[in-house]
């Protein structure tokens, strides 16, 4: 990562790419981008290990691991930004880094749990790329809508938001109660009905 950063800075200095920009600002941008790319590489490597069966499949573990990589990135970013005298550049670089990490987290979540995307992928695999609604519901992700709900309930249990045992869902924990009410309030405020 340090090599990549140095190479990018040297290349841009040679090509005078940075001339119109403030040089320190440019370094701050290169720093956060390189650390963010490093975090993505670590996370993709971690997920590859999960897929290879070297680590257990657990949504909570995968999320905790991603937060850990983001924290490691912050620890690396700190000394990289230390030479910058202007605190505004440090604030901007850290904020952009965290924004990019959240964006990655959001993209990863959609690519893993995207409801609509899964319907599209299911349709793509069906003969003629068409089906009736019942077939789509029954074949959703190879598990049907029943599997979808069971998976969501298990994940909520993994995240300690509710208890799920012997086909009985609930009771909610304090975290589940807060999350449920926050969702209801936001949906009501934005006039969203029957979504999710």
């Amino acid at each position: 990562m340090v090599w990549t950063r140095t190479t990018i800075c040297q290349f841009c200095a040679q090509t005078r790419f940075v001339t119109p920009l403030n040089e320190l600002l440019f370094k701050a941008i290169v720093d956060w981008v390189c650390v963010w790319l490093g975090v993505m590489v670590l996370d993709v490597a971690f997920l590859a290990l999960v897929r290879a069966g070297k680590l257990s499949r657990n949504s909570l573990l995968a999320t905790v691991a991603l937060f850990f990589w983001i924290f490691v990135g912050l620890v690396i970013l700190g000394p990289l930004l230390a030479p910058l005298a202007d605190p505004r550049l440090k604030i901007g670089a850290v904020a952009f880094y965290l924004a990019a990490c959240l964006l990655y987290m959001e993209a990863r979540s959609i690519l893993s749990r995207g409801y609509s995307l899964r319907i599209l992928v299911d349709l793509d695999k069906l003969p003629g790329r068409r089906a009736d609604r019942k077939t789509l519901k029954d074949n959703y992700g190879g598990m049907g809508v029943t599997g979808l709900l069971a998976k969501r309930v298990r994940t909520l249990a993994d995240f300690r938001m509710l208890v799920f045992a012997e086909h009985r869902v609930g009771p909610l924990t304090w975290a589940g109660w807060c999350m449920g009410y926050a969702g209801l309030i936001l949906r009501k405020s934005l006039c969203l009905h029957d979504v999710g």
């Binding site: 403030n22 993709v44 999960v50 499949r57 995968a62 505004r88 550049l89 604030i91 901007g92 670089a93 850290v94 904020a95 952009f96 965290l98 924004a99 959240l102 959001e106 990863r108 979540s109 690519l111 749990r113 409801y115 609509s116 995307l117 319907i119 599209l120 992928v121 349709l123 793509d124 790329r129 068409r130 089906a131 009736d132 609604r133 789509l136 992700g141 809508v145 709900l149 069971a150 969501r152 309930v153 909520l156 938001m161 799920f164 086909h167 869902v169 609930g170 009771p171 909610l172 589940g176 109660w177 999350m179 449920g180 009410y181 969702g183 209801l184 405020s189 934005l190 979504v195 999710g196």
Partner: protein
Amino acid sequence: MWVNVVATAVLFLVLHVAIWRLWPSNAPRVVLFFALAGGCIAGSLAASLLKEGPQLGTLFALAGTESLLVIFYSLVYGTLARSVSVTLLGRLLREKNSTLDFEVLLEEYLRSNRFDDRLHVMAQSGFVAVAGDQVALTEKGERLAKIAEFFGSVFSDGLEG
């Protein structure tokens, strides 16, 4: 700078709630959401330019902080407003002792029009074509499905849904 950040965040939230309430829709309206956010950030940068002149450091910090807030809020909005899990939590909140048989939860979900609503939103965006009971993938939908499947296998543990 921080006054500018807070003012932009409040303005964005007020506009978001006002627009979503004035023109209610179950569609995610991602483009409108980010256009609104982009507009608010651009307004904030313009205000800073007028007040302090072209200070690159201030503009960089302002853009970074406001982008972080927008992405964070979009994560909250996406999770709380559209997630199946939050729908299930909301359903449990209505029950005494917040417990329910899984079969009851499933039956209610299947009876609701949430699955059809997804199809309707995707049809509006041109990813599928719905004719009566039949749902067909469009070319645009096929491209998105291929991209999602590829990136789902790289950046997550596969597209599980």
